[in-house]
């Protein structure tokens, strides 16, 4: 995924000289996760910038640049370090369009590597996506495959709305997959394609017995759980990779729930007021009569992300997802 994101940034910067990158340690070293490796050499230090250590400054300046007409892509080094920039995201990035009847949106992309599973020290493993989904005016997306990462990054840059781009760091380097060279739409010619790419879910595994709705680091785990269910019980689960966390592709979610009659939501973030609550409500509100069981949830717990020796206890595992699925199936 790292290479795919890098490729997208490269393509976007080549296609449009208004695209600039801001972040800590992104230029000289290519970022802590190497997502921006090589871009300094290709595009120079005015467009690939190692900033001072200040997230409010980074996001706020990106907004100012966007107002002037640039297309900034901001890197937050790790999930929790976005918080000093949170105010800028909430009170300005999300509201420029609203104040101008949509005419002057703050067209920025905020990249946030997030989540646990990498044995990191305290405060390097949070999943704060729900906080952003709660802010009207933002789009929140999360790719899971390298191809999606490439396509969604290009779409996020092209799309006029501010996009919070959640990058699941646990699968940054999971399996290298080829990514197409051709962009998913002609760059620079907005034709509705970015909007579509940023708001549709993906069926990551087919099935008709149980809908598992998930995103990010728990997509591959949910697929494994689905395979196990097929093996152990002959149950075929459909895994829906949301990709867009706001707005949710409600059509894909309700279709899956209604066709399967049973649904489970899986995410790594804490449960209360998380995406699972939203997805579950949408399903219950819209297709309750098609359901054989209440929608289940397998999530991180309502507890601070633990120190890493216990992170496997916290993270939804294939075991926990399977157990959660069995509960819904055996209701």
């Amino acid at each position: 995924m790292v290479e795919a994101l890098n490729k997208a940034l490269h393509q976007a910067m080549e296609a449009d000289d208004r695209v600039v990158l801001l972040g800590q340690d992104i230029a000289q070293t290519g970022g802590v996760f190497r997502v921006t490796a090589g871009l300094l050499d290709s595009f120079g230090e005015t467009r690939v910038v190692d900033t001072p250590l200040a997230e409010a400054g980074i996001v706020g300046c990106a907004i100012g640049m966007a107002v002037y007409g640039l297309l900034p892509v901001v890197e937050i080094q790790f999930d929790v370090f976005v918080y000093p920039g949170f105010e800028q995201i909430v009170v300005h990035a999300a509201r420029y369009a609203w104040r101008t009847k949509g005419e002057l949106p703050a067209s920025i992309v905020i990249r946030i590597p997030f989540g646990g599973g990498v044995r990191a020290p305290e405060l390097h493993s949070d999943s704060p996506e729900a906080l952003f989904c709660h802010v009207p005016g933002l789009r929140v997306v999360c790719p899971t495959t390298p191809q999606d990462a490439r396509d969604m990054m290009l779409a996020a840059i092209e799309h006029p709305d501010p996009v919070v781009f959640m990058e699941p760091k646990r699968i940054y380097r999971a399996g290298r997959k080829e990514v197409t060279d051709d962009p998913p739409f002609p760059l620079g010619q907005a034709n509705g394609a970015p909007e579509k790419i940023l708001s549709t879910a993906r069926i990551a595994r087919d099935g008709n017995d149980l809908a598992i709705v998930t995103y990010g680091p728990t997509v591959p785990l949910s697929i494994q759980a689905a395979d196990r269910l097929a093996h152990e019980r002959g149950i075929e689960a459909r895994v829906v990779d949301l990709r867009s966390l706001y707005p949710i592709d409600v059509g894909a979610v309700t279709k899956a729930a209604s066709e399967c009659g049973r649904a489970l939501v899986v995410h790594e973030a804490p449960r209360t007021a998380g995406l699972g609550a939203e997805v579950s409500s949408l399903i219950h509100e819209r297709v309750m009569l098609d359901l054989e069981a209440p929608v289940g949830r397998v999530t991180g717990y309502d507890a601070p992300f633990p120190q890493f020796a216990n992170e496997d206890d916290y993270l939804p595992s294939v075991d926990r997802i399977t157990a959660g699925a069995n509960k819904v199936l055996d209701f």
């Binding site: 000093p84 990191a120 999971a174 717990y301 507890a303 157990a323």
Partner: protein, 378 residues
């Protein structure tokens, strides 16, 4: 550039200055003992990380003087607030070294965390500059209560860019509280050199903007760090408000065990700073003073090695915390029902296999994280 306060010369061209008042012979030896203990901890922690016995680790090799010197100037009742770079400072205040090692091993609860009130040492702070307002608030509270308690926080050159730094400085100056802002200017914030961090020539000149005292010291000279801190605390206790200390030095090692400085800086420049490192320099100084000899030096080194070796044994004797730890102590009293449900759910599924910290990371990589390992659950 502002003159650096310095006491320890180089034994050749640069002369030693007289030891400042307040540091008797026994203090010098005790301060040296602290330096050696910190160094020993740090070197052992790096070795443990290489062996996969703790996770990624933020080393402070070369910055011991900024830590021990400043802490030695504090009274026992004063509070200090470390960043991750001063992670082991608590061991000089009675925190078990095994607790700090356990923190780096990924253990939580009482295994890896200490109670700040037991030692007047704030928690190891990871998000940059966020602990600075706490130091301000603490000494402000002491002032409100009429107590003679000061505070000190350590942070880096990079931290001066964060809003929390400026807010903490301003509050401290406005309310004239006894707090010391101790900036360890090691000239690097991961890969970002100070020239890209700020447009001022020094950190210390920022003090003027807030109306507080500022002093710039040789960060490799523990005596200078002690003296500047002592004076700052005395002023603070006198009602003269906060002080910003800039301890000018150089980050002699990688940012953390997962970092490769060759990606962004010329390590031959680093080599030039190496002779300034504080342990060898202090030892030579104390020998010139006749306060330390080889035997005593060896004894202090042996004692430190033993203390840390014992800490490693203690750390490894801790059983990996059980999964209940996820839900412990998040609230001061009891558990909300969501926790009880979570615990029940957790007990229903089989316990995942034992987790050992990842071993040495394949480079190249930078930053304070463990690189996701290829083939991680996907």
């Amino acid at each position: 550039m502002t003159e650096l306060l310095r006491y320890i010369g180089d034994g050749a061209g640069v002369p030693d200055r007289e030891v400042p008042d307040g540091l008797a012979e026994k203090d010098l030896i005790e301060l040296y003992r602290w330096l050696v203990l910190l160094r020993t901890f740090d070197e052992r922690a790096v070795a443990l990380q290489r062996q996969g016995r703790i996770g990624t680790y933020a080393l402070y090799w070369g910055e011991e003087g900024t830590q021990a010197g400043a802490l030695y100037a504090c009274e026992e009742r004063d509070w200090v607030f470390p960043s991750y770079r001063q992670n082991a400072i608590g061991i000089l205040r009675g925190v078990a070294p095994s607790t700090v090692l356990a923190w780096w091993r990924g253990y939580g609860g009482g295994h890896g965390f200490y109670n700040p009130r037991d030692h007047r040492v704030g928690p190891i702070c990871v998000p940059i500059a966020t602990h600075l307002p706490h130091a301000t608030g603490l000494s402000w509270a002491a002032k409100i209560r009429g107590d003679d308690v000061a505070s000190l926080s350590w942070f880096g050159d990079g931290a001066t860019s964060e809003g929390d730094f400026h807010e903490a400085m301003n509050f401290a100056a406005v309310f004239k509280v006894a707090t010391v802002f101790f900036c360890v200017n090691n000239q690097w914030a991961i890969s970002t050199p100070i020239s890209k961090q700020m447009a001022t020539a020094t950190v210390v000149e920022k003090a003027a903007a807030y109306g507080m005292n500022g002093i710039r010291v040789d960060g490799f000279d523990p005596i200078a760090c002690w003296k500047a801190t002592k004076d700052a605390l005395d002023r603070g206790r006198n009602g003269e408000g906060p002080t910003l200390i800039e301890a000018y030095c150089y980050r002699l090692k990688p940012h953390g065990t997962a970092d490769d400085p060759n990606l962004y800086r010329d390590e031959s420049e680093t080599a030039k700073w190496l002779p300034h490192e504080p342990i060898g320099r202090t030892s030579a100084f104390l020998k010139r003073l006749g306060v330390l000899d080889d035997d005593k030096e060896r004894a202090i080194g042996d004692e430190a090695k033993q203390t840390i070796a014992q800490a490693v044994v203690e750390m490894e004797a801790i059983d990996q915390p059980g999964r209940e730890i996820l839900f412990e102590g998040t609230y001061a009293t009891g558990m909300p029902w969501t926790f009880e449900e979570g615990l029940r759910e957790l007990e229903e599924v089989d316990r995942p296999p034992e987790v050992k910290p990842l071993g040495p990371q394949p480079g190249p990589s930078t930053g304070d994280h463990a690189e996701p390992k290829p083939g991680d659950p996907s």
